[in-house]
């Protein structure tokens, strides 16, 4: 519960200071993770599914949400290759499912991925298969983003804004 609530507090702070003001100013906000991370991770930790959704009901619904999906083994290989040591909470070590960080990571993140699959349906997340080449992923991302941006392109400077 405290894990979930602390993240919600951090999120609320960033939402009110870093996300809503630029949106009001007509700018594009890129968020690395959003409330969906909490939905997947907190539920895996045993928090009530509906409760956490209601908790985050103050969040702004994104115009576009991209979900980079990878099989769990690819995820582990990438992390292990890059920095060797898996973080305690990231590996779900607090749940005591396994004493081996890699084993625990696989069990925990495996469950997290299952939750994400539900979220794809529920919130209409755009899935990007992230096991493939970076260039291809980026092409797809640019295509999806440009569709969104074109609709809102060209913010007009209105006359009542004095310089």
């Amino acid at each position: 519960m405290t894990f979930s609530l602390l993240h919600a507090t951090d999120f609320a702070d960033r939402l009110l200071y870093k996300i809503i003001p630029p949106l009001k100013a007509g700018m594009v906000v890129l968020a690395d993770r959003y409330a969906y991370t909490a939905f997947a991770r907190d539920v895996t930790r045993g928090v009530d599914r509906q409760w956490v959704r209601e908790l985050y009901s103050f969040a702004v619904r994104p115009d576009l949400s991209l979900y980079f999906r990878v099989p769990i083994d690819v995820s582990v290989d990438r992390l292990v290759a890059r920095r060797i040591k898996l973080k305690f909470y990231e590996a779900g070590m607090d749940l005591g499912w396994s004493t081996s960080p890699v084993e625990s990571f696989k069990l925990f993140q495996g469950k997290v991925l299952e939750e994400y699959d539900h979220l794809v349906q529920e919130f209409g997340l755009q899935v990007i298969e992230a096991a493939g080449s970076i260039t291809e992923q980026q092409r797809l991302v640019r295509m999806l983003v440009s569709q969104q941006v074109q609709m809102t392109r060209g913010i007009e400077i209105s006359d009542d804004e004095s310089i």
Partner: protein, 257 residues
């Protein structure tokens, strides 16, 4: 369906007309089921400076003399959150949402680590303030009431909630006589004015209105806090004894014949 001992029909989140006493108000904590436990949770609620801590102190001594194990818990006393809350209060970055969520985190920590374990171990838990303080403070600041009730759906409905009721005039004098008016307790963050005395009165008046509006919803036992410490204590003891003692009889050992 309805519990005959609860005269006014309870209207609490998560259940319709069912007494939730001792159980989760709403969705609860799925990984911490609390079906059966021997402990009791008594809450003393009331606004700042109304005399809660004094009453809890006296209640604790009395209960311990009677042989009960007592655990005390109080607002923002969680070891996890207390330093964070102090830092946040001293900076200017807190807004009503982060304020509410920090308090909720503190409460969740104490619930999981202190209150629930103590109840399971058969202690009487005396809580100096409970979620109602959070609901009142956030309500005054315009946070959505339904959202707040969902948020605190992981709280346990106490066995008894004593609400120490007072009027703003008596409260102002009592606070000024003891430690003086403080920034947050005067609602200075709401910026209703620069004068702390006026702000205190305006803020506390709205807080009292919030508390009073919850009295039926959460079955407050309203206690007139304008009376002397001893008279208030007598009333609390009478009600606590009435609650604890009938429940004890079946387990009392048979007396020598």
């Amino acid at each position: 369906m309805t519990n005959p001992s609860d005269a006014p029909a309870p209207e609490q989140p998560g259940a319709n007309g069912q007494s939730l006493t001792g159980r989760y108000y709403g969705r609860g904590i799925p990984y911490l089921p609390i079906d059966e436990y021997p402990g009791k949770l008594f809450v003393v609620e009331g606004t700042d400076g109304v005399g809660r801590s004094t009453q809890i102190q006296l209640l604790r001594e009395w209960l311990e003399v009677k042989g009960y194990g007592v655990v005390e818990t109080g607002w923002t006393r969680s070891p996890l959150m207390q330093p964070t809350i102090e830092i946040a209060k001293s900076s200017n970055t807190l807004n009503k949402l982060t304020f509410v969520l920090l308090y909720a985190t503190d409460f969740a920590d104490r619930l999981e680590k202190e209150i629930i374990p103590a109840l399971k171990a058969g202690f009487v838990v005396l809580s100096d303030r409970y979620i109602f303080t959070a609901l009142a403070r956030a309500g005054v600041r315009g946070v959505d009431r339904q959202w707040l009730r969902n948020l605190y759906g992981f709280a346990i409905a106490p066995h008894i909630v004593f609400y120490l009721n007072i009027d703003v005039k008596t409260l102002s004098r009592r606070v000024l006589e003891s430690r003086g008016m403080d920034f947050w307790e005067s609602g200075m963050d709401l910026k209703t004015g620069d004068d702390i005395y006026d702000s205190f009165r305006t803020y506390q008046r709205s807080l009292l209105r919030e508390y009073n509006s919850m009295a039926d919803e959460f079955h407050f036992r309203v206690v007139d806090a304008r009376r002397s410490i001893d008279r208030i204590q007598d009333e609390l003891r009478r009600q606590v004894a009435a609650y604890l003692e009938p429940a004890e009889k079946p387990t009392e050992p048979a007396l020598a014949r």
